[in-house]
Each structure stands twice: as structure tokens, then as C-alpha cells.
Symmetry: C2
Subunit: 190 residues, 2 copies
Amino acid sequence: MYPELLTHIKKYTSLTPAEEQLLCEKLELKKLKKKEFVLEAGKYCHGNYFVVKGCLRLYFVNNKLNEQIIQFGIENWWITDYDGLMSKQPSTCYIQTVEPSEVLFLSEKDQAILFEQIPHLESYFRIMMQKAYVASQRRIGFIFNQTEEERYRHFSSRFPEFMQRVPQYMLASYLGFTPQFLSRLRAKKI
Amino acid sequence: MYPELLTHIKKYTSLTPAEEQLLCEKLELKKLKKKEFVLEAGKYCHGNYFVVKGCLRLYFVNNKLNEQIIQFGIENWWITDYDGLMSKQPSTCYIQTVEPSEVLFLSEKDQAILFEQIPHLESYFRIMMQKAYVASQRRIGFIFNQTEEERYRHFSSRFPEFMQRVPQYMLASYLGFTPQFLSRLRAKKI
DNA sequence: CGATTTTTTGAATCATATCAACGTACGTGG
DNA sequence: CCACGTACGTTGATATGATTCAAAAAATCG
């Protein structure tokens, strides 16, 4: 049994003990070292990762050969390449740990089986998707309506602890500007 | 019965005739004139709109008092303020028709009831959310990795017919730059 | 047709990127 | 446990691409 995930699910829906059992049987706990990959471009994405502990990043390499971070996954977030998963095509991105991490892996196949057996589990994932969608719509709003500086200040006031956990160049990538620019922002602040 | 929606659902899951019946009883067809609002900032968002015909836009007014378009909804898309819906707070954005349109309204309340009765309907919405999420993640990738010009060219090659349907200033807003800049891009092209 | 909305154009300005070099920290093998 | 190498962060000078403001031109609508 994996209490972190079950507690998280309870926030949004309810499962019977038997359903919890069924779910946990399908999950696979993976302990990962720092900088370990769970997905690489060109390979197929086979499922979904729930972060129990640690931090992962999802990024792709753009045409200037820079790594563009699309998403971070920290404790209690699901992370995967949904694009690759849905299209059944080889992935175009990478998912890698930023810190030593523990994740629960749920394969696409098992997820589909569980959805038929446990309607409330599908409900949970619908809500997760909806939340993720809202978050990324908000992010688009921020990108278009705030200067890089405002975005940085907003992010650092909202996630101060998180800032400590990742290198600056990753933050810069996530926020959509250069590491040099981030460095200057920090210098300016004091 | 609303064949456009039922056909769309069949692409992703299957409903029994009885389930289709149940669903359609809860839907409300609304015929809307051009520039009619279905949601305004400050009001509560009560449900979800499926676009049968026409085009709507979801936008908010930023601190420079410009309208920032977050999303367009055309035929076979669902559109609503999921943020306001989930948070149960007054909305911060507007949803307005761009053309005369027909939409099916499904209230949040009815949707919750239907999800309990029809697990496959929840499945359909989970998949819709996942698709929407993927689309908005992709959009973030584009924003960060292409110049404004590349984004415009990409968009116009991908949705040439759609470009004809909306005023340029809305496209500029959606793509994240000024109408003047878009005008110059077009002038450059020839 | 007149009124409003939308698009175009020009010139000046500003924010961020780029390139390049130098500092600093960190962890890995000897 | 120290030293070296690589990864990460800082700083300065210059370049560039998009914005802003203002006004005119064109298109759309009742």
C-alpha cells in the first residue's frame, strides 16, 4: 500500500479498501538516483509516474539545441509525456530526475484495466487532468501578460522552497528566458 | 438528440442508447448571436459548452487593459472557465461568441450526476481534458521556442480556414503579440 | 451613407538575447 | 582527503526584435 498516493486520491474522490488494494497491486515503486531518466526522446512512453518524493523534469531539446523545460513534477504530482502516450508515437521529450526520487509507476495498460474496474479512479484522473489543464492555461496567461521579471518574482514568491531545489538554469528554462538574464534579475534584487 | 456531440463521443468511447438519451436530456441547446457573452468576469461559471457550430473565445482583461485570448472554441470543442468552475469562485474571464454560434450547455450539477450514472461519460471527459492539456503544453513549447513570426507562420499553415474566421487583432492576442506586429508580418509576406 | 471597428504605417524606445570571458562550487577518482 | 575537471553562475558590451504611440487608411455594419 502506498499511503502518499491514497491520501492524495482521498482529497478528490473515495475508493473502497478493495479498490485501493487493486490499485496498489498494479503500482511499481521505483527508486531513482539524481539525473536518472525515466523517458528519453525516441523511446516509447508506457505509463504515468506519481512522485512520492523528489523532483523530476520534463523537457525537450529545441532547434537551438537548448533544453526547454515544459514541466516539473514534485511530490504528489503525476508526470508523463501525455502527448506520446496518447499518440502511441515515440516520444519527443525527456523525463529525468532533478534530485534522488521515488516514484510510483502505473502502466498505460494497467490504468485502462483499472478504469474499467474502478470508475472513481477514472474520476480522480479526470480531475487531475482538469487541474493540470487549468495550471497550464494560467501559465499561458502569465507568459503573455507579465514581463520575464514579473514572472520570476511571482514564481519565487509562490514557490520559495522549490527555488532552492533546482539549478538556476532549469528555472530560467522553465520560465522561458536565459540563465544570464535570471542571474541579472537576482543581482538586481538584493 | 444531438448527433454532433454523440458522434464526437463515439470517437473516444461508447455509450448505450439509454445513456445517450440520459445525456441529451440534460443538454440545453443555445443559439447565440455574434459577440454574445456566455460568461463574464465577476459572474459564476455554471457549466460547460460544447460548440455545435460557430466560434467562441475565452479571454481575460490584463493589467494594461488589453484583452488576452486564452483559447478559441470551434466546432466539436468544449469550452468553459475550468478555473472558475473548479474553484467555485467568481470568474476572472469572459467567454464570447466570435460568430453566430450554436452551443450545447451542460451544467456542472448535471455533469456530476451523469458521471455517477454513466462511467463512460467520465471517461470521455477525462480524455478531452487530457487532449486539452497536451494541446496547451504544446502551445507552451511553441511560445518558448519559436519567434513570433514562426508561430504565426505555423498557425497559419495549420489552420488556414480558421484565420479567415476571426479578426486579426484576436489572432494577434491569441498568438501573444500586438496587432501592429501581425500587420507587419502580413505585409512582409506577400 | 455615416459611424464604428479594424488594419496599416512610421519613428522612437525598450527589454531581452547573444557572445565571450571570468569566477565559483562541487563531486569523483587517485 | 585533496586536486582536478566539469558543471554552474556571474558580468560586460553589443545587437536585435518587438512594443509603443500616434495617425491615417480601409473595411464593415446598421
